[in-house]
């Protein structure tokens, strides 16, 4: 089954819409769903032109396609456990929060908190991801626990904050405080980033570019060969009695 949701133009286009109801399994029982624009509850078809092709019995067989100006659409795919969501343009904050399975593919850019606290499944973002991609929640200790997030563009600050499991791959550059408080999992940044793996406890962080503002409390161990690259290996943040590993191609201290 393929559900296509095309965003309708709205008068107050700038008010964000929260649409956690947009997950494949909900469409198994029809399209009579509700979304919220600010403090107003709206029917799905007040916001989208909805079209459904085919049918399905299982969430795995449902694909939801979002088109139009969806950059202010928040919480799409929250608690996704199966099926697929394809976003043709950009997507708003909190896309794929808490997801445990299924796939989200974003062709444009993703706003903050993409895949926050996700436990499983796959998110592919073909554009850039904003701050707090694959991170945790305020006050929480564990961020993403499983699954995969792959960003082909750049990622913002606090990428994979408190990462506890799973894999995060960014093909472009990442921002400041990349992989802060990491406690598990794997983070790979193909480009440059700033202050990676600060205060890390565990896990592995790879920076194939240059680590700017390198934290002074990592201990240099030597060089390793990884994926055909020569990387410098550091052991986890001494300030935090850490045991993690940080591999960088190059680094600069702020001295």
């Amino acid at each position: 089954m393929k559900v296509t949701l095309a965003m309708k133009p709205a008068a107050k286009w700038f008010i964000p819409i929260e649409a956690e109801s947009i997950v494949p399994k909900n469409f198994l029982s029809g399209t009579d769903l509700r979304v919220w624009r600010g403090n107003r509850e709206l029917r799905l078809d007040e916001v989208f032109s909805v079209s459904v092709e085919g049918d399905a019995d299982r969430a795995e067989d449902v694909e939801v396609v979002l088109s139009g100006d969806t950059f202010r659409l928040k919480r799409v795919g929250e608690y996704l456990d199966a099926g697929k969501i394809t976003v043709l343009g950009g997507i708003g904050m909190h896309c794929g929060n808490f997801m445990s399975g299924g796939t989200i593919e974003i062709h444009g850019n993703a706003d903050g908190w993409l895949g926050r606290e996700m436990a499983g499944g796959t998110i592919v973002c073909r554009g850039d991801a904003a701050d707090y991609c694959a991170s945790g929640y305020r006050g929480g200790r564990k961020g993403m626990k499983g699954g995969t997030v792959e960003v082909f563009g750049r990622a913002g600050d606090f990428l994979a904050e408190s990462l506890a499991g799973g894999t995060v791959i960014v093909h472009g550059d990442a921002g400041d405080m990349t992989g802060a408080e990491m406690r598990g999992g794997t983070l790979v940044v193909h480009g440059d980033c700033s202050r990676p793996a600060a205060n890390m406890k565990d896990g592995s962080c790879y920076v194939y570019g240059t680590a700017r503002g390198m934290i002074p409390t990592f201990k240099k161990i030597g060089t390793v060969q990884h994926d055909g690259r020569t990387l410098i290996r550091f052991s986890g943040d001494l300030a935090n009695r850490g045991k993690g590993n940080l591999f960088v191609k190059g680094y600069e201290y702020l001295d």
């Binding site: 929640y137 305020r138 006050g139 929480g140």
Partner: protein
């Protein structure tokens, strides 16, 4: 004039010796009366269990540290969020809910009177502000005196009357209810990063021992004729082998008051540990219970631990730091100048953890081994042992051996060799539960004469009607029914109005605060004592005139005057 008649109530009212009698309760203008006119509104209780409104004699619901527990825990707030609905405001939180959350959840469980266990005098205004937003219960606050410099100096000088005078002035100034000692002396030592290990360790600089502090303040408390006794959180909380320290503290207490106990020892579960380190940690509930059985001057509460996530918060700063060193998670500490301190850390009690399992058992053992339910009240030291919403489960455990055994099967397997719980057959009855959750608490707090904890004419019309018929339910087998009933009243009546019904709160309500103003002679009025004033002005960072809590902070003012022997 508003009148209400509750018909066919199956009443258990221990303070009046009523145990399961079907009767009517007449209410006029917020008070229980002999009879009401025919115009009265009628509620048919249909033989359901009807108790005086619940009284929690030790909980942490309002004030600086409670709020800091909320402040530092947005992850806790994600649970239990409800929107504004009818008369109910929005709520958030599980282990440290918002003030409305506390109030509604307590009300739905039939609780109408709460004692905030620890209020730092300097920050009393904060506690009173939060009381205002805890609308469905009457409240009172135990005031912390464990590290009060003026008192420590007076104790060093051996002047118990001065100790009493300082307590009198402070209680009146901050609108406090009773005297709380939290790790006496230890909180002062902690301001240097130190602690006292037991009751014979002198406090740095002041050179008085916890034993002296406890004894002097107990005497001072009785000189002031306060309704409640000293409320003690013993030294050395939460360490293996601390039961001997607890017994030592209990042994200091003479029997000074014929109406009530002379010492209220709180959350004794945390103080009933055997062993010398965590490896040989075990329960010492038996010696504690035996000791208390022989001493009518002591009343304690359980401080039951229940499994799951919660937040620990106490004025016992050094203890929280030790916990932090064990868990290495987040830790807050807040020392209060010249007075006391506090600490907060979130914890998770796990069934798979041997120490946690033993702790869980000890609380139950204390309640089951202590002969008189009047001497061991039900509490979790909310939220330290567990959030108060777990009370119904605790009631279920106390009333059903079968439930206990079922739960015991899920805890750490080595627990069995460390605790006497599996061998205890006792199952508490309805009357005993009523004592532990209201009558006993009201008597221990000394508020039964103020119309709390019973349903005699003249009492406050605080009534809880639970959807359960005691002759139809066998709590030993049908414990789930007991838990369900105690989780949600059919009706909660507060001051003569139905405030909650089947899980919904129906009115906005307004809280009343009970506080004590002991009357002392001029010579003992610390507000006029030059030495007291001089030191206050020099060492506090607020002016003496800005210290007392103004009348504005108490919407319904229930001032209790006592005649002090000063």
């Amino acid at each position: 004039m508003t009148e209400l008649l509750v018909k066919n109530a199956c009443v258990i009212d221990p303070l009046r010796g009523i145990n399961g009698e079907t009767m009517d309760i007449a209410i006029r203008d917020g008070k229980i009366v002999e009879e009401v006119s025919d115009a009265a509104e009628v509620i048919d209780a249909r033989g359901m269990l009807t108790l005086p409104g619940g009284v929690d004699s030790h909980t942490h619901i309002c004030g600086t540290k409670v709020n800091f527990g909320r402040y530092m825990s947005p992850e806790d707030m994600r649970a239990g969020r409800t929107p504004r609905r009818g008369a109910m405001h929005a709520t958030s939180g599980y282990s440290v809910p918002t003030t409305y959350g506390n109030s509604y959840r307590y009300s739905v469980m039939g609780y109408t009177t709460l004692l905030e266990g620890a209020m730092a005098p300097l920050e009393a205004r904060h506690t009173h502000e939060e009381f205002t937003y805890t609308p469905l219960q009457d409240t009172m606050a135990n005031t912390l005196f464990d590290g009060n410099w003026a008192i420590l100096e007076a104790i060093r000088d051996g002047d118990v009357k001065r100790v009493a005078a300082i307590i009198a002035w402070t209680l009146k100034a901050v609108k406090g209810f009773g005297v709380k000692l939290t790790n006496p002396g230890g909180t002062e030592a902690w301001q240097w990063g130190k602690n006292v290990s037991c009751i014979r360790d002198p406090v740095p600089y002041f050179e008085v021992t916890p034993a002296e502090i406890i004894r002097s303040i107990v005497e001072a408390n009785e000189l002031l004729h306060l309704p409640h006794s000293v409320h003690l959180h013993c030294n050395n909380l939460g360490t293996p082998g601390n039961y001997s320290c607890t017994l030592g503290s209990f042994g200091l207490i003479p029997d000074l008051n014929e109406k009530r106990q002379t010492l209220y020892a709180t959350h004794v579960q945390f103080h009933a540990y055997g062993g010398s380190e965590w490896k040989d940690f075990c329960s010492k509930s038996e010696p504690i219970a035996r000791f208390v059985d022989m001493r009518p001057q002591i009343v304690m509460d359980m401080g039951q631990v229940m499994f799951g996530r919660t937040t620990t918060m106490t004025a016992d700063g050094p203890m929280e730091f030790n916990l932090y060193r064990l868990h290495h998670e987040k830790w807050s500490n807040h020392d209060v100048e010249l007075e006391t301190g506090s600490g907060i850390i979130p914890v998770i009690y796990r069934r798979k953890n041997l120490v946690n399992s033993i702790m869980w058992a000890i609380g139950l053992e204390l309640a089951l081994l202590t002969k008189s339910p009047w001497q061991c009240l039900l509490s979790t030291d909310n939220p330290n042992g567990a959030p108060f919403v777990k009370y119904p489960e605790i009631i279920g455990l106390l009333m059903s051996k079968r439930y206990r055994d079922a739960e015991f099967a899920t805890v750490h397997p080595d627990t069995e060799s460390r605790v006497p719980l599996p061998a205890i057959e006792r199952e508490l009855d309805w009357h005993e539960i009523a004592v532990m959750t209201r009558a006993g608490a009201a008597r221990a707090l000394g508020i039964q004469d103020l119309g709390k904890g019973h349903l005699a004419p003249g009492a406050d019309a605080d009534v809880a009607i639970y959807p359960l018929k005691i002759d139809e339910v066998d709590p030993s087998a049908e414990y789930q029914k007991v838990i369900d009933a105690f989780s949600r009243t059919e009706y909660t009546i507060k001051r003569g109005r139905v405030v909650a019904r089947r899980g919904e709160c129906l009115v906005h309500g307004s809280n009343a605060t009970l506080w004590v103003a002991p009357k002392v002679s001029d010579g003992y009025d610390m507000g006029k004592d030059p030495d007291f004033i001089e030191k206050f002005d020099r060492y506090y960072t607020v002016r003496m005139s800005n210290y007392p809590v103004q009348e504005e902070y108490v919407t319904r003012n229930r001032r209790i005057e006592t005649e002090a022997e000063l």
